[in-house]
C-alpha cells in the first residue's frame, strides 16, 4: 500500500482523538435539546456552556462574547454584513486587503453592489501590508476594517495587534478572519483590540461545519438567524452540541500544546522549504519568516499546479494549488496575482501545509517524491524547453 502523507492542513485537518472522545457522548446517549428544562437537556446545555468557556479562555475573551456558527464562512458573512448595516449612518467605507479568503471577499463584493465602497490594501511581494498605507486610507466615513489574520494561501501573518490599536484609536470596527491563525499562533482579542473575530474548528483538528464569531461585549450586532432565540437571540437554531464540544476540546488541546507545536512544525516547514528551494526556478510565496508555522507555499516555474497535485496524489501526498486550472473560475488565485506573480508563474503554485500530526519522515518523503515530479512535468512543458534553451518557442 502506498503511504499517505497529508500535507493539506490549511484545507482541513484530521479530527483530534481527544475531541472525538469528548464528542461521543453527545452523539449517543446525551442527545437532549439544550433548550429543554429536564436533566437530559440541561446536561447538554451545561456541556455547551463549558465548551464556550474553553473557547473564550483560548482567545482571552468572555464566554458571552462567543457566538457559535457553522464555520468560518458564516462567521465572516455575519460579521461583515452586520457591521456594515449597523454603521451605515456613519458611513459606507470599508477597508480590507487583497489577501482575503473568498468568504470575506465575496461578502465585500455583495456590499459594493449595495452601495458600499471598499478599499483593498495591496501587499508587497512577501504578502505584507503597509500600516502607513492603512493609516492614509482611513476616512471620516470608514466604518469597518477587515483583515485576514494569516493568509491561507501564502501563510503571511498580518500585524493584527497594530491594526487593532489603530482601529480602536480611530473608533472604527475591526474584524479579523482568524480561521488560519486560531489554535496555531497566539491570538488574544483583548490585547489585539479585536472587535469581531471569525474562527473555524476544522482548521485546528476540530470537526467540520462548526465555528464561532467573537463579538466584543457591547457591540449590538444584528441577529444572523431568527427563530428560537438560541445564542442569545443572535443565531437561532438547535445547537450542534457535539460539534461545539469537539471544537472546544480541539482548541483547548491546540492552545495548550501551541509552544511545542510551533517549534516542531516550523522546524519541519523550514526543512521542507530549504529542500524544495534547491530546485531551480522555484520561489517561496509569502514571507520567509513572518509566516504560519505549517505553511510552505511555492511556485515552480514552467509547470502547472493541478498536474503537480495529481501526480503527488499518485505518490500518496495530499497538497493543493492556486493555479488557474485548479480553480473553478479558471483564473489564478487573486492572492498569487496580488503578490505580483505573472499569470504563467502563478500557474505553478503548490501549497504544502503541515501540522502537529506530520513527522520528519513525511518531510523526507515529500523531499524524495516532489523533485522528480517537477522534472517530469518540466520535461513535457514547452515553456521549460524555451527557458533552458534560451530560445523562444515560435
Amino acid at each position: 500500500m502506498t503511504r499517505i502523507v497529508y500535507a493539506d492542513n490549511a484545507a482541513t485537518t484530521s479530527l483530534s482523538r481527544h475531541a472525538l472522545e469528548e464528542m461521543m457522548p453527545y452523539l449517543t446517549k446525551e442527545y437532549g435539546n439544550p433548550s429543554t428544562v429536564y436533566s437530559l437537556g440541561r446536561s447538554a446545555k451545561k456541556a455547551m456552556e463549558n465548551a464556550r468557556a474553553k473557547i473564550a479562555s483560548a482567545l482571552g475573551c468572555r464566554p458571552d462574547e462567543i457566538f457559535i456558527t457553522s464555520g468560518g464562512t458564516e462567521a465572516d458573512n455575519w460579521a461583515i454584513r452586520s457591521a456594515a448595516i449597523m454603521k451605515k449612518d456613519k458611513g459606507k467605507h470599508i477597508i480590507s486587503t487583497v489577501l482575503e479568503h473568498h468568504a470575506v471577499l465575496h461578502t465585500l463584493k455583495s456590499l459594493e453592489k449595495a452601495g458600499y465602497e471598499v478599499t483593498y490594501l495591496g501587499v508587497d511581494s512577501a504578502g505584507n501590508i503597509s500600516l502607513d498605507e492603512l493609516k492614509n486610507t482611513i476616512r471620516q466615513d470608514t466604518i469597518l476594517i477587515t483583515v485576514i489574520a494569516a493568509s491561507n494561501e501564502i501563510g503571511t501573518i498580518m500585524p493584527i495587534a497594530e491594526i487593532g490599536a489603530l482601529a480602536r484609536e480611530k473608533g472604527i470596527l475591526f474584524h479579523t478572519d482568524a480561521v488560519q491563525a486560531v489554535g496555531h499562533i497566539p491570538v488574544n482579542t483583548e490585547e489585539m483590540k479585536i472587535d469581531l473575530l471569525s474562527l473555524s474548528a476544522h482548521k485546528f483538528k476540530g470537526p467540520k461545519g462548526i465555528g464561532a464569531l467573537y463579538i466584543k461585549k457591547g457591540l449590538r450586532l444584528p441577529s444572523n438567524m431568527y427563530g428560537g432565540a438560541q445564542e442569545r437571540g443572535l443565531r437561532s437554531g438547535t445547537e450542534n452540541v457535539a460539534g461545539i464540544v469537539g471544537m472546544a476540546a480541539a482548541l483547548e488541546e491546540a492552545v495548550s500544546n501551541m509552544d511545542n507545536n510551533i517549534k516542531k512544525i516550523s522546524a519541519m516547514r523550514d526543512r521542507l522549504i530549504d529542500g524544495l528551494l534547491k530546485i531551480p526556478y522555484t520561489r517561496l510565496t509569502g514571507d520567509p519568516v513572518n509566516r504560519l508555522p505549517g505553511s510552505a507555499s511555492f511556485v515552480f516555474e514552467c509547470i502547472e499546479g493541478e498536474s503537480m497535485v495529481l501526480l503527488l496524489d499518485q505518490a500518496g501526498i495530499c497538497a493543493s494549488s492556486g493555479s488557474a486550472c485548479s480553480s473553478g473560475s479558471l483564473d489564478p488565485s487573486h492572492v498569487l496575482l496580488a503578490i505580483g506573480l505573472p499569470h504563467e508563474v502563478a500557474h505553478g503554485s503548490l501549497r504544502l501545509s503541515l501540522n502537529e500530526d506530520n513527522t520528519e519522515e513525511d518531510v523526507d518523503y515529500i523531499l524524495e517524491k516532489l523533485p522528480p515530479i517537477i522534472s517530469r512535468l518540466r520535461d513535457m512543458s514547452p515553456l521549460w524547453e524555451e527557458k533552458i534553451s534560451g530560445k523562444p518557442i515560435k
Binding site: 502547472e304 479558471l330 513535457m380 518557442i393
Partner: protein
C-alpha cells in the same frame, strides 16, 4: 472528478516529448486559463507517420493531448483535420464541463501542426483546410 481513462492518459501519456524529425510544429495557447501546447508531426505521403506533444497545463490538457495524438497517428492528413475536441473528450469517457476548453487546445494544436507542415511544403494551408 476525472474518469479513469483521463487519469490513465495523464499518468502514462502517449507520444510525449519533442519529435526530432518533425516536419510540422503547431504551437497554440489558451486564453481561458493560460496553458500552452506544442504538437510535432511527421507527415509522409499524406499520412501522419509520427506525432508527439508537449503541454504546459492541467491533467485534462495532458490527457487530451495524449489521446488526440493517439487518435490521429497513422491517419491521413484529411482524417486528422476532422478530429474534433468532442471526439477526444468522448474517447476519454468525458471531461468535467470546466475542462472542455482544454480539449479544444489539442484539436487546435494538431490543426496548427498540419498547417505548419503545408507552409513548409510551400502549399497554402487555407486552401487545404477549406476542402
Amino acid at each position: 472528478m476525472y474518469s479513469e481513462k483521463v487519469m490513465d492518459h495523464f499518468n502514462n501519456p502517449r507520444n510525449v516529448g519533442a519529435l526530432e524529425d518533425a516536419n510540422g510544429i503547431g504551437h497554440v495557447g489558451n486564453s481561458t486559463c493560460g496553458d500552452i501546447m506544442k504538437i510535432y508531426v511527421k507527415i509522409e505521403d499524406d499520412i501522419i507517420k509520427d506525432i508527439s506533444f508537449k503541454t504546459f497545463g492541467c491533467g485534462a490538457a495532458v490527457a487530451t493531448s495524449s489521446m488526440a495524438t493517439e487518435m490521429v497517428k497513422g491517419k491521413t492528413v484529411r482524417e486528422a483535420l476532422k478530429l474534433s475536441n468532442k471526439a477526444v473528450a468522448e474517447a476519454l469517457d468525458g471531461l468535467p464541463p470546466a475542462k472542455m476548453h482544454c480539449s479544444v487546445l489539442a484539436e487546435e494544436g494538431i490543426k496548427a501542426a498540419i498547417e505548419d507542415y503545408f507552409k513548409r511544403q510551400g502549399i497554402d494551408p487555407a486552401a487545404v483546410l477549406k476542402e
